[in-house]
């Protein structure tokens, strides 16, 4: 019997799931690149990133080169949470096919 409560509710939202997926593909993503890739508004993206950051799933680095730039990466906790989320998703899909 599957326990759907095992699904991490913070990740189980399409916008945040998309962010976590992209962050899982590379070491770090700049805010502008995430925005361009996900086609999200600044406000929407920043809200999701703040939520993930507060939960300790995403790390934030601020740099000043020519202009201030913020980049985001998955924390170790975030990576584990994403993998666990994927595992539970796969179980749900498999269970539904039986």
């Amino acid at each position: 019997m599957l326990d759907f409560d095992k699904l991490d509710k913070a990740i189980h939202e399409k916008g945040r799931l998309s962010i976590m997926t992209l962050l899982a593909t590379r070491m770090a993503w700049s805010f502008q690149d995430l925005k361009a890739e996900l086609n999200m508004s600044d406000g929407n993206l920043i809200t999701h990133l703040r939520t993930l950051h507060k939960l300790g799933l995403v790390a934030m680095t601020k740099e000043i080169r020519d202009r201030p730039q913020t980049s985001y990466a998955l924390t170790a906790k975030g990576r584990v949470a994403f993998q666990e989320y994927l595992r539970v998703l796969e179980q749900i899909v498999k269970a539904g096919r039986k």
């Binding site: 399409k14 998309s18 997926t21 593909t25 890739e37 998703l89 899909v93």
Partner: protein
């Protein structure tokens, strides 16, 4: 929507985003097809022109100048680059995504260092290198470094593109090893055939292999 359908939908989102972020085909099948046809067309034109003039004026060693030969190929390159940019732009419009995507920036950052040396060699060739009929050297550098540029995208390019890069690199290395034998033949025969064989035939084979590929053009 029940939980299973939602889970399937989320898995689809993850897969699409992962592919988009991690797989980038710097050369689409359409670009490879058109580029290959242009390269083969140019090779045939140069070959036919040389043959035609050799019959009319056999005492003249060559009829297309060394710089003319390089300029023709650079012209072909400009056309193919413009077409590739158009295909990428069109796909970006269809997907409502920016033309210069993060993946494209990543690809350019990987490819550009491999193009500095051939660019410098080309500039040298137009200034001084042409005087000693150095087309063969120029062509080997173009082919070899183009191969290296494709291989440099191996961390996010599909395997087919990396294999294409290896085919170019191995051909250039082979041409370097066989330098003495190749220089025996009159120019621009060998450089012209080498360009047609690699940029023409290899690209056509690549286009045929990936034509039905599900990976999107340019902004993948």
């Amino acid at each position: 929507m029940d939980e299973r359908h939602r889970a399937e939908e989320h898995l689809r989102v993850i897969r699409t985003l992962m592919e988009r972020a991690t797989i980038y085909r710097a050369i689409s099948a359409s670009t490879a097809l058109i580029g290959g046809l242009i390269a083969l067309g140019l090779t045939s034109t140069i070959w036919a022109s040389e043959r035609h003039w050799a019959q009319i004026a056999p005492q003249v060693m060559r009829h297309i100048s060394t710089r003319g030969f390089a300029a023709l190929w650079l012209g072909a390159l400009a056309i193919v680059l413009a077409l590739n940019a158009f295909f990428v732009w069109r796909q970006a419009q269809r997907d409502s995504r920016p033309f210069i995507s993060p993946s494209m920036k990543l690809a350019l950052r990987s490819i550009l260092p491999c193009l500095i040396f051939p660019a410098a060699t080309t500039i040298w060739f137009f200034y001084d290198g042409y005087e000693a009929d150095n087309e063969l050297l120029l062509v080997r550098i173009w082919i070899g470094f183009y191969g290296l540029a494709l291989i440099a995208t191996q961390h996010f390019a599909p395997r087919s593109l990396v294999l294409l890069g290896w085919a170019f690199l191995i051909t250039a290395a082979g041409m370097m090893v066989a330098s003495r034998q190749l220089e025996y033949y009159s120019t621009p025969l060998v450089p012209n055939l080498a360009m047609g064989f690699t940029f023409g035939l290899y690209h056509l084979i690549y286009a045929a292999c990936v034509w039905k590929s599900p990976v999107r053009v340019g902004s993948e």
